[in-house]
Symmetry: C2
Subunit: 430 residues, 2 copies
């Protein structure tokens, strides 16, 4: 038998005078006259329990500590003074797991510890209402992303994560010992999703990817969830159109499913301009120069430069398109009219790249040349290249970092904060 | 501009006399007195193109090879002789990518190569209609699984895949070199999903997991997609009820979304008995003994034994419950009335375990004892155990192997066949 008849959020005025069984964590405890007020928390939110003096339940409630797990039976009653206008008068209460005191991290207070402490005490930290809101927003966002893709005929796929060679260049790889041989963790599903687009046309994947990032920034993790799309017979403009729909879908999904979470985070989703404005890389460089930045064609546009650009443009969400071919990976297609530029884009949220995409090369000869130009050996990529002999359609796609998109959807400032158990150079537990 | 106005399957009688742009692969080519018939394939299926002699398109069509990628413009016309009663009279056709001949694997024929050959030539193999059907069934099944869980208030989570220590015992781990230190690939999200159930109550994850399986069987891979559920305030009976709903949901989803795929595979989904029958481990052993099998309490029930049991029971889908505690992992809860047995189950499809689940231990003392009994050192699990001091609810959950469920949903016989790019001891590419 399930331990509860209702979840916390489900207790509302419609249940007036009904008996309910609830179970959850003791969020707060308060004594008031001959009564104890317990705010009970579960995965849906909070509900107030009242235990009256003289009852057997009162004796049990005396033993309670914050974050202890309890099960309670009681009657629902409306009371304007209670949060949400409803409370449960407790008839029986059992302690299922008694929490030690003191807690290494306070769960109920909005007074927050620093991120390092919170990540060390993460299991308690995730119980905080703000983190519960973050986890719900994430689930809703990923769901909306997938739903939009299903509706456009995309299939969800699963690509191998243990691979024989690098996809995005040789640096930043984690080696795996695979039955005595060396292999690597996939930096992205790039080459496999291209092959799948070359087999089944429209695919997407939401899965972990790894980069051995030495740098400790609020925007990098060594393990991250990559949301990948690849489609045959699309070019980068088609992909930008699709991506715009996906961004809209995710924002709508979060607004619809999680308005209370946004409130909990005290965050309003930004109102973006649609269609999303596009600016070319070349124009971006010109604007930066006008802003006094010492930058030239071919340079990367790093986060500090994006900050300047963001300010100059006055846009919160924008595409930077047509990047120099030399600045993009070997699989990126050059522009027909100017091969020094590529059919590529980044989607920028303020000063953060959240998506990177392009039309891909679909010719074996061009790919081989492109690998050589980058000092890579085509024969190491034969497992990929050989399929281009057997009917490879034009195709395009993108990779989106879930945790970066989550910064846009939550207003938080570090990807470490939006990932349940982040991995970086110094963090391998919890 | 998108290269196509319609996908192959969308071309039907409602488009009579309309101009369409199509793009895809040349599935088959046929000459028939002054006409060429091209069956064009894309990710949705097939459509017949007709190219008439004397047209410019006819000259281009002369150059075509199987699996070449083309774009065609033409007029839709109904014709009872055509597959699906409709064809496209081609006005223009362009070759986007010309496939070499001969192909290393025939894509259009139902005459199939052996699995080893097909896995080597997998990108072509995935273009076969049967494999396209498998990929669509997989996408629909996972979608239905998630939808059912959302409707029951579960949140999708992402747990770390690089971990500091083993979860399911020390064997069968893949070591990762993590910034110069040794770490491992997660064998399952077990301990992290438990911690998340202890924070946010109801969670699920669909993600890769790894086992360094030495054995080469049709039911094992070294990398697999694990569908995991964990819920606070559930016990194993609640989880079996939930799992039953999920199985129903997946079967309904596949039936609804993919009836044509099942037809392509010439497969009918089995009609299971609901509620799913339950048999205890003890009774299973008794039945096996009656069938003349040399087996005793405490023994594992391996696939050959499950075959005997399946036959004796006459059931295609059944739970084996209440396994010996000694046969289950340390986190499994023992039964209150007989600690030699545990609150655990396997879900068996014919003779294959497709799900394994249990009520989990939620007491630190019991967990420490359980680790010791298995020769494991509690201090290695401190990253997990310490949270049990701070209010850990009773909880339960399961892990389901996607590729094994796919055998049930497709009628295929090897998990290597249902995974796009399977990984085993000898396979690291493609």
């Amino acid at each position: 038998m399930m331990l509860k008849t209702h979840r916390a959020r489900e207790v509302d005025e419609s249940l007036e005078a009904k008996e309910v069984f609830l179970a959850g964590w003791v969020h707060t405890l308060r004594d008031l006259g001959g009564k104890k007020f317990i705010v009970l928390r579960d995965g849906t939110g909070l509900v107030q329990l009242v235990v009256e003096k003289g009852s057997k339940a009162f004796d049990v409630a005396q033993e309670l500590t914050q974050e202890s797990v309890v099960r309670a039976k009681g009657l629902v009653r409306t009371d304007k003074r209670a949060p949400r206008g409803v409370e449960v008068k407790v008839e029986e209460i059992n302690i299922l797991s008694r929490a030690k005191t003191p807690l290494p991290l306070d769960v109920s207070d909005k007074v927050s510890a620093d991120l390092d402490t919170r990540l060390r005490e993460r299991v308690l930290d995730l119980r905080r209402l703000e983190m519960q809101a973050v986890m719900r927003i994430q689930s809703a966002a990923v769901r909306a992303f997938r739903e939009k893709l299903y509706s456009k005929g995309f299939l969800e796929v699963f690509t191998p994560k243990i691979i024989a060679s690098a996809t995005e260049g040789g640096a930043a790889l984690f080696p795996v010992i695979y039955f005595g041989k060396e292999a690597f963790l996939a930096q992205s599903p790039q080459l496999y999703k291209e092959l799948l687009a070359g087999s089944i046309e429209r695919v997407f994947e939401v899965a972990p990817a790894w980069r051995a990032e030495e740098s400790d920034t609020p925007f990098h993790l060594s393990e991250f969830v990559s949301m990948d799309v690849e489609a045959a017979f699309f070019d980068y403009n088609d992909i930008m159109d699709l991506l715009e729909d996906l961004i809209k879908g995710m924002i709508d999904g979060v607004q619809r499913e999680c308005s209370d979470c946004l409130k909990e985070l005290n965050y309003e989703l930004p109102k973006f301009e649609f269609p999303i404005p596009k600016i070319t890389y070349k124009d971006s460089i010109e604007i930066l120069k006008k802003e006094g930045v010492d930058v030239k064609f071919g340079d990367d546009i790093s986060t500090p430069l994006l900050r300047v650009l963001n300010k100059a443009l006055g846009k919160d969400l924008y595409f930077i398109t047509d990047w120099p071919s030399s600045a993009r990976p070997f699989y990126t297609k050059a522009k027909g009219d100017d091969p020094s530029l590529s059919e590529s884009f980044d989607l920028i949220f303020r000063s953060l790249e959240i998506v990177s995409g392009s039309t891909r090369n679909s010719s074996r000869d061009v790919l081989e040349e492109s690998l050589k130009q980058r000092g890579l050996n085509p024969s190491s990529f034969e497992f990929f290249l050989r399929w281009f002999d057997y009917g490879m359609p034009p195709h395009a796609g993108f990779g989106m970092g879930l945790s970066r998109v989550m910064l846009m959807l939550t207003g938080l400032s570090s990807v470490k904060d939006v990932v349940a158990f982040p991995r970086d150079k110094k963090r391998l537990t919890p």
